[in-house]
Symmetry: C2
Subunit: 173 residues, 2 copies
């Protein structure tokens, strides 16, 4: 085992970032909790931003894959799978959305908008109306909110109702 320190840093950082926000977490705090020193962090991550990025990356790639490879199809099925997607990453997603502005280190905001656009396209096709866009925002945004607000519950107690409600918001029969 060459070094699991890197992984341990990520685990602790992730926990603190989610718990108290990225901006409110200092490298000192992370290193202290691990029993190592600040400079030791810099051996594994070239900068604070590098560390943050490494934690966000898996989620970004997963969502990116979803919105780019998905073929148009049954809307309700898409809602279900999309719910699973955001549920899986709900902790990091919350962290990210809460600090979108303060995390200027990427083009995250623009990226998330493009995900949303792509999803709407998948739901309604290219001839989407303004009304359908609003309904899509209601449905997709509402599901995100549910993933956050009921994050502590088992999925089965949230997903069915959330998906059903989202379908209704969309205007599906």
């Amino acid at each position: 085992m060459p070094s699991d320190t890197k992984a341990r840093i990520q685990a602790v950082a992730r926990e603190l970032f989610v718990q108290q926000g990225v901006q409110n977490t200092s490298l000192r705090q992370i290193s202290e909790r691990l029993g190592i020193t600040k400079p030791a962090l810099y051996y594994h991550f070239s900068s604070r931003e590098d560390l943050v990025r490494s934690i966000v990356q898996p989620m970004v790639e997963d969502i990116e894959r979803f919105v780019t490879t998905r073929e148009p199809g049954d809307a309700r099925e898409l809602l279900k799978d999309y719910f699973d997607l955001i549920w899986r990453h709900r902790e990091v997603l919350v962290m990210l959305m809460r600090e979108l502005e303060t995390l200027g280190y990427t083009d995250m905001a623009e990226r998330m908008f493009s995900w949303r656009r792509r999803l709407i396209l998948l739901l309604f096709g290219p001839g989407v109306t303004p009304e359908q866009q609003i309904r899509a925002t209601m449905a997709l945004g509402g599901m995100s909110d549910c993933s956050v607000e009921y994050a502590h519950l088992p999925v089965e107690e949230v997903k069915p109702t959330a998906v059903e409600s989202a379908a209704a918001a969309l205007g599906l029969s």
Copy 2:
């Protein structure tokens, strides 16, 4: 006119806070844009927190008034009025939600939860089921998202569809 400086400070601060986040806005930046010095700010506001609070306060009071004085009644009417409420304060609301964690200076998070609970109570009464709670989150959260995402459009182009969709998400006939 004894001093409109205070108001000018608030106007500039508000703009910067909304634009780039509270955490990313320093007192130096605010004072520079106004052509005054940092210490001058401290004459009008006893601390940075005091300034932030003064900008959030009007929204807090408005929402507080809504959720405490409102009588139970027609759900769709409530959705409409609630939409107007958050639409009116959408800029500050976004700012606040984006930085809930980083703004540890108040009990904001808890407060917003209690608003949500009170609204759900108004919508479904005391015997609310878990399913209805999820649907309420979908409806109310979705409307917030719409206020943010379509903030630049005229209300009339957003509100009717958003309210209609929220009603459907709630499960109203």
